[in-house]
Amino acid sequence: MTKNWRLKEIVLMSILGVVFGVIYLVFFIVGEGMRNILAPFGLAPFGYEIIYGVWFIAPIMAAYILRKPGVAFTAECIAGVVEVLLGSAAGPGLLLSAAIQGAGAETVFSLTAWKDYRLRILILSGISTAVISFAWHLYSAGMIALAPWLIVSTLAVRIISAALISGVLGKWLSDQLAKTGVLRGYALGKAWQRKRKHASA
Protein backbone atom coordinates (compact mmCIF):
# COMPACT_ATOMS: atom_id res chain seq x y z
CA MET A 1 0.00 0.00 0.00
CA THR A 2 2.70 2.46 0.98
CA LYS A 3 4.77 1.54 -2.09
CA ASN A 4 2.93 3.92 -4.43
CA TRP A 5 2.87 6.80 -1.98
CA ARG A 6 5.42 9.47 -2.48
CA LEU A 7 7.43 10.88 0.40
CA LYS A 8 5.95 14.35 -0.08
CA GLU A 9 2.46 12.89 0.36
CA ILE A 10 3.43 11.36 3.69
CA VAL A 11 5.04 14.61 4.86
CA LEU A 12 1.83 16.38 3.82
CA MET A 13 -0.23 14.04 6.03
CA SER A 14 2.13 14.69 8.91
CA ILE A 15 1.87 18.45 8.43
CA LEU A 16 -1.92 18.23 8.33
CA GLY A 17 -1.67 16.38 11.66
CA VAL A 18 0.52 19.14 13.12
CA VAL A 19 -1.61 22.05 11.86
CA PHE A 20 -4.89 20.54 13.04
CA GLY A 21 -3.28 19.49 16.30
CA VAL A 22 -2.61 23.20 16.88
CA ILE A 23 -6.02 24.29 15.58
CA TYR A 24 -7.73 21.78 17.86
CA LEU A 25 -6.09 23.45 20.85
CA VAL A 26 -7.70 26.73 19.78
CA PHE A 27 -11.10 25.04 19.45
CA PHE A 28 -10.49 23.35 22.78
CA ILE A 29 -10.79 26.70 24.53
CA VAL A 30 -14.20 27.19 22.91
CA GLY A 31 -15.12 23.68 24.09
CA GLU A 32 -14.03 24.53 27.62
CA GLY A 33 -16.25 27.59 27.65
CA MET A 34 -19.23 25.47 26.62
CA ARG A 35 -18.27 22.91 29.22
CA ASN A 36 -18.31 25.42 32.05
CA ILE A 37 -21.82 26.49 31.12
CA LEU A 38 -23.08 22.92 30.92
CA ALA A 39 -21.14 21.54 33.90
CA PRO A 40 -23.75 22.00 36.67
CA PHE A 41 -26.28 19.94 34.71
CA GLY A 42 -23.77 17.12 34.40
CA LEU A 43 -23.57 17.69 30.66
CA ALA A 44 -20.00 19.01 30.65
CA PRO A 45 -18.65 16.49 28.09
CA PHE A 46 -21.15 17.92 25.57
CA GLY A 47 -18.94 20.99 25.28
CA TYR A 48 -16.26 18.87 23.65
CA GLU A 49 -18.74 16.96 21.48
CA ILE A 50 -19.53 20.15 19.59
CA ILE A 51 -15.96 20.55 18.39
CA TYR A 52 -15.36 16.84 17.86
CA GLY A 53 -15.35 17.17 14.07
CA VAL A 54 -11.96 18.91 14.17
CA TRP A 55 -10.45 15.52 15.02
CA PHE A 56 -11.72 14.10 11.74
CA ILE A 57 -10.62 16.90 9.41
CA ALA A 58 -7.10 15.57 8.83
CA PRO A 59 -8.05 12.14 7.38
CA ILE A 60 -10.86 13.53 5.24
CA MET A 61 -8.77 16.38 3.84
CA ALA A 62 -5.87 14.00 3.18
CA ALA A 63 -8.12 11.53 1.37
CA TYR A 64 -9.73 14.34 -0.65
CA ILE A 65 -6.36 15.82 -1.64
CA LEU A 66 -4.34 12.66 -2.27
CA ARG A 67 -7.13 10.27 -3.46
CA LYS A 68 -5.36 6.98 -2.84
CA PRO A 69 -6.41 3.85 -0.93
CA GLY A 70 -5.44 3.83 2.74
CA VAL A 71 -4.77 7.56 2.93
CA ALA A 72 -7.62 8.40 5.31
CA PHE A 73 -6.64 5.69 7.78
CA THR A 74 -2.93 6.49 7.64
CA ALA A 75 -3.45 10.25 7.88
CA GLU A 76 -5.50 9.88 11.07
CA CYS A 77 -2.95 7.48 12.58
CA ILE A 78 -0.20 9.96 11.70
CA ALA A 79 -2.21 12.76 13.30
CA GLY A 80 -2.41 10.59 16.44
CA VAL A 81 1.33 9.91 16.40
CA VAL A 82 2.05 13.61 15.90
CA GLU A 83 -0.13 14.35 18.92
CA VAL A 84 2.07 11.97 20.96
CA LEU A 85 5.25 13.51 19.56
CA LEU A 86 4.04 16.98 20.49
CA GLY A 87 3.81 15.72 24.05
CA SER A 88 0.05 16.00 24.35
CA ALA A 89 -0.83 14.71 27.80
CA ALA A 90 -3.54 12.43 26.40
CA GLY A 91 -1.11 11.02 23.80
CA PRO A 92 -1.21 7.20 23.89
CA GLY A 93 -4.99 7.10 24.22
CA LEU A 94 -5.31 9.45 21.26
CA LEU A 95 -3.19 7.09 19.18
CA LEU A 96 -5.62 4.27 19.84
CA SER A 97 -8.73 6.31 19.08
CA ALA A 98 -7.00 7.75 16.00
CA ALA A 99 -6.59 4.25 14.56
CA ILE A 100 -10.28 3.53 15.20
CA GLN A 101 -11.40 6.84 13.71
CA GLY A 102 -9.14 6.38 10.71
CA ALA A 103 -10.76 3.01 10.05
CA GLY A 104 -14.15 4.72 10.21
CA ALA A 105 -13.14 7.35 7.65
CA GLU A 106 -11.51 4.81 5.36
CA THR A 107 -14.57 2.53 5.28
CA VAL A 108 -16.68 4.99 3.28
CA PHE A 109 -13.91 5.74 0.79
CA SER A 110 -13.29 2.02 0.30
CA LEU A 111 -16.99 1.50 -0.48
CA THR A 112 -16.62 3.90 -3.42
CA ALA A 113 -13.45 2.03 -4.47
CA TRP A 114 -11.54 5.29 -3.76
CA LYS A 115 -13.01 6.94 -6.87
CA ASP A 116 -15.75 9.21 -5.59
CA TYR A 117 -14.78 12.36 -3.68
CA ARG A 118 -17.95 14.44 -3.93
CA LEU A 119 -19.15 16.43 -0.92
CA ARG A 120 -21.75 13.82 0.04
CA ILE A 121 -19.08 11.12 0.26
CA LEU A 122 -16.89 13.34 2.45
CA ILE A 123 -19.84 14.04 4.74
CA LEU A 124 -20.70 10.33 4.88
CA SER A 125 -17.10 9.59 5.74
CA GLY A 126 -17.25 12.12 8.56
CA ILE A 127 -20.45 10.53 9.85
CA SER A 128 -19.00 7.03 9.72
CA THR A 129 -15.95 8.27 11.63
CA ALA A 130 -18.21 9.81 14.25
CA VAL A 131 -20.26 6.62 14.66
CA ILE A 132 -17.27 4.30 14.95
CA SER A 133 -15.40 6.59 17.34
CA PHE A 134 -18.60 6.83 19.38
CA ALA A 135 -18.86 3.05 19.61
CA TRP A 136 -15.33 3.03 21.01
CA HIS A 137 -16.19 5.71 23.58
CA LEU A 138 -19.30 3.81 24.66
CA TYR A 139 -16.86 1.19 25.84
CA SER A 140 -13.75 3.10 26.90
CA ALA A 141 -15.35 6.14 28.56
CA GLY A 142 -18.09 4.04 30.12
CA MET A 143 -20.79 5.95 28.26
CA ILE A 144 -22.80 2.76 27.92
CA ALA A 145 -23.88 3.30 31.53
CA LEU A 146 -25.76 6.47 30.55
CA ALA A 147 -29.47 6.89 29.90
CA PRO A 148 -30.43 5.97 26.31
CA TRP A 149 -31.72 9.46 25.41
CA LEU A 150 -28.40 10.97 26.46
CA ILE A 151 -26.42 8.44 24.43
CA VAL A 152 -28.53 9.15 21.35
CA SER A 153 -28.32 12.93 21.68
CA THR A 154 -24.54 12.84 22.27
CA LEU A 155 -24.16 10.73 19.15
CA ALA A 156 -26.37 13.14 17.20
CA VAL A 157 -24.26 16.14 18.25
CA ARG A 158 -21.08 14.33 17.30
CA ILE A 159 -22.49 13.33 13.90
CA ILE A 160 -23.56 16.89 13.12
CA SER A 161 -20.19 18.23 14.23
CA ALA A 162 -18.36 15.67 12.07
CA ALA A 163 -20.55 16.30 9.02
CA LEU A 164 -20.18 20.08 9.25
CA ILE A 165 -16.61 20.50 10.45
CA SER A 166 -14.82 17.61 8.79
CA GLY A 167 -17.04 17.10 5.74
CA VAL A 168 -18.10 20.61 4.70
CA LEU A 169 -15.28 22.66 6.23
CA GLY A 170 -12.66 20.07 5.22
CA LYS A 171 -13.72 20.15 1.57
CA TRP A 172 -13.97 23.93 1.57
CA LEU A 173 -10.48 24.33 3.05
CA SER A 174 -9.00 21.89 0.54
CA ASP A 175 -10.67 23.69 -2.37
CA GLN A 176 -9.41 27.04 -1.12
CA LEU A 177 -5.93 25.53 -0.91
CA ALA A 178 -6.20 24.12 -4.42
CA LYS A 179 -7.08 27.63 -5.63
CA THR A 180 -3.79 28.98 -4.30
CA GLY A 181 -1.97 26.52 -6.54
CA VAL A 182 0.10 24.76 -3.86
CA LEU A 183 -1.62 21.44 -4.56
CA ARG A 184 -0.51 21.28 -8.19
CA GLY A 185 1.59 18.21 -7.48
CA TYR A 186 -1.28 16.26 -5.85
CA ALA A 187 -4.43 14.56 -7.14
CA LEU A 188 -6.82 17.35 -6.09
CA GLY A 189 -4.69 20.07 -7.70
CA LYS A 190 -4.54 18.08 -10.92
CA ALA A 191 -8.32 17.67 -10.91
CA TRP A 192 -8.65 21.46 -10.50
CA GLN A 193 -6.29 22.13 -13.37
CA ARG A 194 -8.25 19.78 -15.61
CA LYS A 195 -11.46 21.57 -14.66
CA ARG A 196 -9.92 24.95 -15.43
CA LYS A 197 -8.70 23.74 -18.82
CA HIS A 198 -12.23 22.56 -19.61
CA ALA A 199 -13.65 25.89 -18.59
CA SER A 200 -11.27 27.89 -20.77
CA ALA A 201 -11.51 25.55 -23.78
Partner: protein, 259 residues
Amino acid sequence: MISSINPSMKMVAVLLPGILLGLTYDVFTPLMYFIFILIVTFSMTHISILRWLKLFSPFLMLAVSFAWMTMLYANQTFSGGQEMFRFWLFEVTSGSFQTGVSVGLRSLCFGALSLLFILTTDSTKLMLSFMQQFKLPPKITYGILAGYRFLPVFQHELQTLRQAHRIRGVSRARGIKGSVNQFRRYAIPLLASGIRKAERVSIAMESKGFTDDADRTHYHNMTVKKRDWLFLVLMIGVLIAVFVLSYYFGYLQIFGRQF
Protein backbone atom coordinates in the same frame (compact mmCIF):
# COMPACT_ATOMS: atom_id res chain seq x y z
CA MET B 1 14.09 3.62 35.34
CA ILE B 2 11.15 3.90 32.99
CA SER B 3 12.75 6.42 30.63
CA SER B 4 15.11 3.70 29.38
CA ILE B 5 12.35 1.19 28.58
CA ASN B 6 11.90 0.55 24.86
CA PRO B 7 9.23 3.03 23.69
CA SER B 8 7.23 0.50 21.65
CA MET B 9 7.05 -1.91 24.56
CA LYS B 10 6.14 0.95 26.88
CA MET B 11 3.34 1.93 24.51
CA VAL B 12 1.90 -1.60 24.64
CA ALA B 13 2.34 -1.75 28.42
CA VAL B 14 0.40 1.51 28.80
CA LEU B 15 -2.32 0.88 26.21
CA LEU B 16 -3.33 -2.67 27.17
CA PRO B 17 -4.31 -1.87 30.79
CA GLY B 18 -6.12 1.19 29.47
CA ILE B 19 -8.23 -1.00 27.18
CA LEU B 20 -8.88 -3.69 29.79
CA LEU B 21 -9.93 -1.20 32.48
CA GLY B 22 -12.86 -0.29 30.25
CA LEU B 23 -14.51 -3.55 31.35
CA THR B 24 -14.91 -2.65 35.00
CA TYR B 25 -17.75 -0.72 36.62
CA ASP B 26 -16.86 -1.09 40.29
CA VAL B 27 -14.86 1.33 42.43
CA PHE B 28 -12.29 -1.07 43.86
CA THR B 29 -10.57 -2.25 40.65
CA PRO B 30 -9.70 1.12 39.04
CA LEU B 31 -8.85 2.61 42.45
CA MET B 32 -6.31 -0.11 43.22
CA TYR B 33 -4.77 0.16 39.78
CA PHE B 34 -4.62 3.95 40.03
CA ILE B 35 -2.68 3.62 43.29
CA PHE B 36 -0.34 1.17 41.56
CA ILE B 37 0.27 3.62 38.68
CA LEU B 38 1.05 6.36 41.20
CA ILE B 39 3.56 4.10 42.94
CA VAL B 40 5.23 3.26 39.61
CA THR B 41 5.25 6.93 38.58
CA PHE B 42 6.90 8.22 41.71
CA SER B 43 9.23 5.33 42.51
CA MET B 44 10.55 4.53 39.03
CA THR B 45 10.81 7.96 37.37
CA HIS B 46 12.31 11.35 38.20
CA ILE B 47 9.11 13.33 37.67
CA SER B 48 8.60 15.92 40.38
CA ILE B 49 5.24 15.72 42.13
CA LEU B 50 4.42 19.38 41.52
CA ARG B 51 5.01 19.13 37.79
CA TRP B 52 2.98 15.94 37.63
CA LEU B 53 0.08 17.52 39.52
CA LYS B 54 0.09 20.48 37.17
CA LEU B 55 -0.14 18.24 34.12
CA PHE B 56 -2.62 15.94 35.81
CA SER B 57 -5.14 18.59 36.86
CA PRO B 58 -6.96 18.72 33.46
CA PHE B 59 -7.53 14.96 33.75
CA LEU B 60 -8.95 15.49 37.20
CA MET B 61 -11.41 18.05 35.84
CA LEU B 62 -12.39 15.71 33.03
CA ALA B 63 -12.80 12.77 35.41
CA VAL B 64 -15.01 14.80 37.74
CA SER B 65 -17.21 15.98 34.88
CA PHE B 66 -17.55 12.43 33.54
CA ALA B 67 -18.32 11.07 36.99
CA TRP B 68 -20.92 13.78 37.59
CA MET B 69 -22.58 13.13 34.23
CA THR B 70 -22.71 9.39 34.86
CA MET B 71 -24.14 9.89 38.36
CA LEU B 72 -26.97 12.06 37.12
CA TYR B 73 -27.82 10.15 33.97
CA ALA B 74 -26.99 6.48 34.61
CA ASN B 75 -29.46 4.06 32.99
CA GLN B 76 -31.45 1.33 34.72
CA THR B 77 -28.77 -1.37 34.51
CA PHE B 78 -26.34 0.82 36.44
CA SER B 79 -28.57 2.79 38.80
CA GLY B 80 -29.93 0.24 41.26
CA GLY B 81 -29.88 0.61 45.04
CA GLN B 82 -31.04 3.23 47.52
CA GLU B 83 -31.43 6.91 46.78
CA MET B 84 -28.43 8.73 48.23
CA PHE B 85 -29.14 12.40 47.54
CA ARG B 86 -31.15 14.63 45.28
CA PHE B 87 -29.87 17.40 43.06
CA TRP B 88 -32.50 19.64 41.47
CA LEU B 89 -34.58 17.19 39.37
CA PHE B 90 -32.15 14.31 39.60
CA GLU B 91 -31.91 11.57 42.17
CA VAL B 92 -28.60 9.86 42.64
CA THR B 93 -28.83 6.24 43.79
CA SER B 94 -26.02 4.22 45.32
CA GLY B 95 -25.73 2.28 42.05
CA SER B 96 -25.34 5.34 39.85
CA PHE B 97 -23.02 6.96 42.41
CA GLN B 98 -20.79 3.91 42.32
CA THR B 99 -20.80 3.78 38.51
CA GLY B 100 -19.98 7.49 38.36
CA VAL B 101 -17.04 7.18 40.74
CA SER B 102 -15.82 4.13 38.83
CA VAL B 103 -15.95 5.89 35.47
CA GLY B 104 -14.16 8.89 36.98
CA LEU B 105 -11.44 6.70 38.50
CA ARG B 106 -11.02 4.91 35.21
CA SER B 107 -10.33 8.14 33.38
CA LEU B 108 -7.86 9.07 36.13
CA CYS B 109 -6.08 5.78 35.36
CA PHE B 110 -5.98 6.65 31.63
CA GLY B 111 -4.55 10.06 32.51
CA ALA B 112 -1.90 8.72 34.85
CA LEU B 113 -0.84 5.99 32.38
CA SER B 114 -0.68 8.55 29.61
CA LEU B 115 1.48 10.93 31.66
CA LEU B 116 3.73 8.04 32.66
CA PHE B 117 4.36 7.45 28.96
CA ILE B 118 4.61 11.03 27.74
CA LEU B 119 6.92 12.25 30.50
CA THR B 120 9.41 9.44 30.07
CA THR B 121 9.58 9.05 26.29
CA ASP B 122 11.73 10.85 23.76
CA SER B 123 9.85 11.66 20.52
CA THR B 124 12.60 10.70 18.09
CA LYS B 125 13.35 7.45 19.91
CA LEU B 126 9.65 6.59 19.83
CA MET B 127 9.59 6.90 16.04
CA LEU B 128 12.85 4.99 15.62
CA SER B 129 11.48 2.24 17.82
CA PHE B 130 8.22 2.11 15.83
CA MET B 131 10.35 1.62 12.71
CA GLN B 132 12.60 -1.04 14.19
CA GLN B 133 10.20 -2.96 16.43
CA PHE B 134 6.82 -2.53 14.70
CA LYS B 135 8.34 -2.49 11.18
CA LEU B 136 6.83 0.87 10.28
CA PRO B 137 8.15 1.73 6.77
CA PRO B 138 11.10 4.20 6.92
CA LYS B 139 9.28 6.47 4.49
CA ILE B 140 6.44 6.95 6.98
CA THR B 141 8.74 7.19 10.01
CA TYR B 142 10.94 9.93 8.59
CA GLY B 143 7.99 11.56 6.83
CA ILE B 144 6.26 12.00 10.19
CA LEU B 145 9.43 13.24 11.88
CA ALA B 146 10.03 15.75 9.10
CA GLY B 147 6.49 17.13 9.36
CA TYR B 148 6.51 17.27 13.14
CA ARG B 149 9.75 19.27 13.17
CA PHE B 150 7.90 22.13 11.48
CA LEU B 151 5.84 22.87 14.56
CA PRO B 152 8.07 25.72 15.84
CA VAL B 153 8.07 27.18 12.32
CA PHE B 154 4.27 27.12 12.29
CA GLN B 155 4.10 28.88 15.61
CA HIS B 156 6.47 31.52 14.32
CA GLU B 157 4.44 31.92 11.13
CA LEU B 158 1.21 32.23 13.07
CA GLN B 159 2.76 35.07 15.03
CA THR B 160 3.97 36.77 11.85
CA LEU B 161 0.51 36.50 10.32
CA ARG B 162 -1.05 38.00 13.41
CA GLN B 163 1.39 40.90 13.39
CA ALA B 164 0.90 41.44 9.67
CA HIS B 165 -2.85 41.62 10.18
CA ARG B 166 -2.52 44.00 13.07
CA ILE B 167 -0.20 46.36 11.22
CA ARG B 168 -2.73 46.57 8.37
CA GLY B 169 -5.49 47.31 10.86
CA VAL B 170 -7.46 44.06 10.52
CA SER B 171 -9.38 44.02 13.76
CA ARG B 172 -10.62 41.06 15.73
CA ALA B 173 -13.61 39.48 14.06
CA ARG B 174 -17.09 39.60 15.54
CA GLY B 175 -19.92 37.15 15.04
CA ILE B 176 -19.97 33.76 13.36
CA LYS B 177 -19.28 35.08 9.87
CA GLY B 178 -16.39 37.12 11.17
CA SER B 179 -14.80 34.20 12.96
CA VAL B 180 -15.14 31.96 9.89
CA ASN B 181 -13.37 34.65 7.90
CA GLN B 182 -10.69 34.94 10.54
CA PHE B 183 -10.23 31.18 10.56
CA ARG B 184 -9.72 31.27 6.78
CA ARG B 185 -7.25 34.14 7.01
CA TYR B 186 -5.05 32.07 9.30
CA ALA B 187 -5.66 28.49 8.16
CA ILE B 188 -5.13 28.92 4.41
CA PRO B 189 -1.71 30.63 4.51
CA LEU B 190 -0.53 28.28 7.26
CA LEU B 191 -1.58 25.18 5.34
CA ALA B 192 -0.30 26.53 2.03
CA SER B 193 3.15 27.23 3.39
CA GLY B 194 3.06 23.87 5.18
CA ILE B 195 2.40 22.05 1.93
CA ARG B 196 5.21 23.90 0.18
CA LYS B 197 7.54 22.90 2.99
CA ALA B 198 6.39 19.28 2.73
CA GLU B 199 7.30 19.31 -0.93
CA ARG B 200 10.68 20.96 -0.44
CA VAL B 201 11.80 18.81 2.46
CA SER B 202 10.82 15.56 0.71
CA ILE B 203 12.65 16.53 -2.48
CA ALA B 204 15.68 17.40 -0.37
CA MET B 205 15.53 14.05 1.43
CA GLU B 206 15.16 12.05 -1.76
CA SER B 207 17.89 13.94 -3.59
CA LYS B 208 20.25 13.02 -0.74
CA GLY B 209 19.53 9.35 -1.27
CA PHE B 210 16.67 8.59 1.10
CA THR B 211 14.76 5.50 -0.02
CA ASP B 212 12.03 3.36 1.49
CA ASP B 213 14.34 0.38 1.69
CA ALA B 214 13.47 -1.59 4.84
CA ASP B 215 16.90 -3.22 4.71
CA ARG B 216 18.78 -0.20 6.03
CA THR B 217 21.25 0.48 8.79
CA HIS B 218 20.39 2.57 11.84
CA TYR B 219 22.45 5.12 13.72
CA HIS B 220 20.41 4.42 16.87
CA ASN B 221 19.68 0.74 17.28
CA MET B 222 16.55 0.25 19.35
CA THR B 223 16.43 -3.16 21.01
CA VAL B 224 14.03 -5.06 23.22
CA LYS B 225 15.79 -6.37 26.30
CA LYS B 226 14.67 -8.55 29.17
CA ARG B 227 13.78 -5.56 31.35
CA ASP B 228 11.40 -4.25 28.68
CA TRP B 229 9.50 -7.53 28.87
CA LEU B 230 9.66 -7.34 32.67
CA PHE B 231 8.03 -3.91 32.61
CA LEU B 232 5.26 -5.18 30.31
CA VAL B 233 4.68 -8.20 32.56
CA LEU B 234 4.61 -5.93 35.62
CA MET B 235 2.00 -3.58 34.18
CA ILE B 236 -0.27 -6.36 32.90
CA GLY B 237 0.42 -8.72 35.81
CA VAL B 238 -0.63 -6.20 38.45
CA LEU B 239 -3.78 -5.45 36.48
CA ILE B 240 -4.69 -9.16 36.43
CA ALA B 241 -3.84 -9.39 40.13
CA VAL B 242 -6.15 -6.44 40.86
CA PHE B 243 -8.95 -8.09 38.87
CA VAL B 244 -8.47 -11.38 40.77
CA LEU B 245 -8.31 -9.58 44.12
CA SER B 246 -11.43 -7.62 43.35
CA TYR B 247 -13.23 -10.84 42.30
CA TYR B 248 -12.06 -12.50 45.51
CA PHE B 249 -13.50 -9.69 47.66
CA GLY B 250 -16.67 -9.74 45.59
CA TYR B 251 -16.31 -6.20 44.23
CA LEU B 252 -15.69 -7.02 40.59
CA GLN B 253 -18.34 -5.67 38.24
CA ILE B 254 -18.15 -6.00 34.48
CA PHE B 255 -20.72 -4.04 32.49
CA GLY B 256 -22.99 -3.68 35.49
CA ARG B 257 -22.98 -7.39 36.27
CA GLN B 258 -21.66 -8.44 39.66
CA PHE B 259 -19.25 -11.37 39.72
